[in-house]
């Protein structure tokens, strides 16, 4: 259980500023993820960077970048929606790649579709300009019980 993340999480919940928590996670910083509450919704952004490309002839982002961005968005959505100080542990992540993300800045947002005592499920999608045309979506299940679960 993480002391640093725990205190930043409490701060983010109190202040509505989620960027500091994001910047405390090395991987989120590596991708360049930005987080902001917009009109009552937690919105994540991923500005395009050339080194994140997986197919150089299309300038398309690597599938792992999309998957990692969606997983980051799902975890943050869960932390934002829950009261618990427990950092969720990913059980499964199923990503659908719908359109190639060519040289584009991305946005993502998620929805908690099920919240049980031990498991939470999140659906998350990312898009560039039109939210109605997602580039990728994912469904994830998380362990949210005590540190010793299951």
């Amino acid at each position: 259980m993480s002391g640093l993340l725990k205190s930043l999480l409490a701060e983010a919940r109190a202040s509505g500023d989620w960027q500091r928590l994001v910047e405390a996670v090395p991987y989120a910083r590596h991708l360049g993820v930005e987080a902001e509450l917009v009109e009552g919704e937690l919105l994540l952004r991923l500005p395009f960077k050339e080194p994140l490309v997986g197919n150089p002839s299309l300038q398309a982002l690597h599938g792992g970048v999309l998957g990692g961005f969606l997983e980051t968005a799902a975890i943050l959505t869960l932390l934002w929606r829950l009261d618990s100080p427990v950092i969720p542990k990913t059980i499964t992540n199923t990503v659908d790649y719908l359109r190639s993300a060519r040289g584009l800045d991305l946005q993502a947002s998620g929805e908690v579709t099920r919240l049980g005592r031990r498991v939470a499920s999140v659906a998350v999608a990312c898009w560039s300009k039109e939210r109605q045309k997602p580039l990728a979506s994912a469904r994830l299940h998380f362990l949210v019980g005590g540190a010793k679960a299951p």
Partner: protein, 161 residues
């Protein structure tokens, strides 16, 4: 690149793999290079890749455990590039879907390996499975995955449908 002769698919070893990647991408994949992912072994539709542990890929700064996104990247690379190398006429592919089961946490400070197996190549789609593990612990993997991949049209084909 479109007209250059491709190495025989029966080739094995990292060199044969790299020759295929040069033919398909004209070099390296930027994000694979950024993470320092390397090819350890390649033979008969099976690809073994290594992701060096790096602090910048950590998900929990207190435990030092890699973020799931780093594991996803290693697995997607091994499956996608493994499919490309397994094709009779190698060409780019696009991941259609990828499901990853996290079986146990990766250990802080240790490199992660991934062995992918392209077990079915159809006309337009190929299927791959993979496990990610620490060296010497392939029987108790960190993650298991299944993916499907769309095959791009060959440069010589008439249209992109």
């Amino acid at each position: 690149m479109s007209g250059s002769p491709l190495p025989p698919q029966s080739g094995s070893g990292p060199e044969a793999f790299h020759a295929v990647m040069r033919a398909v991408f004209g070099g390296v994949v930027p994000y694979v290079q950024l993470l320092g992912i390397t090819v350890e072994d390649y033979e008969d539709r099976t690809l073994l890749m290594r992701l060096p542990y790096d602090g910048s890929l950590v998900g929990d700064p207190d435990s030092g455990v890699l973020h799931g996104g780093a594991v996803t990247t290693l697995i997607d690379s091994a499956c996608g590039l493994g499919v490309i190398a397994a094709l009779e006429k190698p060409r780019p592919v696009a991941t259609l879907d990828l499901r990853i089961d996290y079986l146990k946490p990766a250990e802080a400070g240790r490199d992660l390996f991934c062995r992918s197996d392209c077990y079915r190549i159809a006309q337009q789609v190929a299927f791959a499975r993979a496990t990610a593990f620490h060296l010497g612990e392939e029987e108790t993997p960190v993650a298991a995955a299944l993916g499907s991949f769309m095959l791009a049209d060959l440069p010589s084909s008439e249209n992109g449908a």
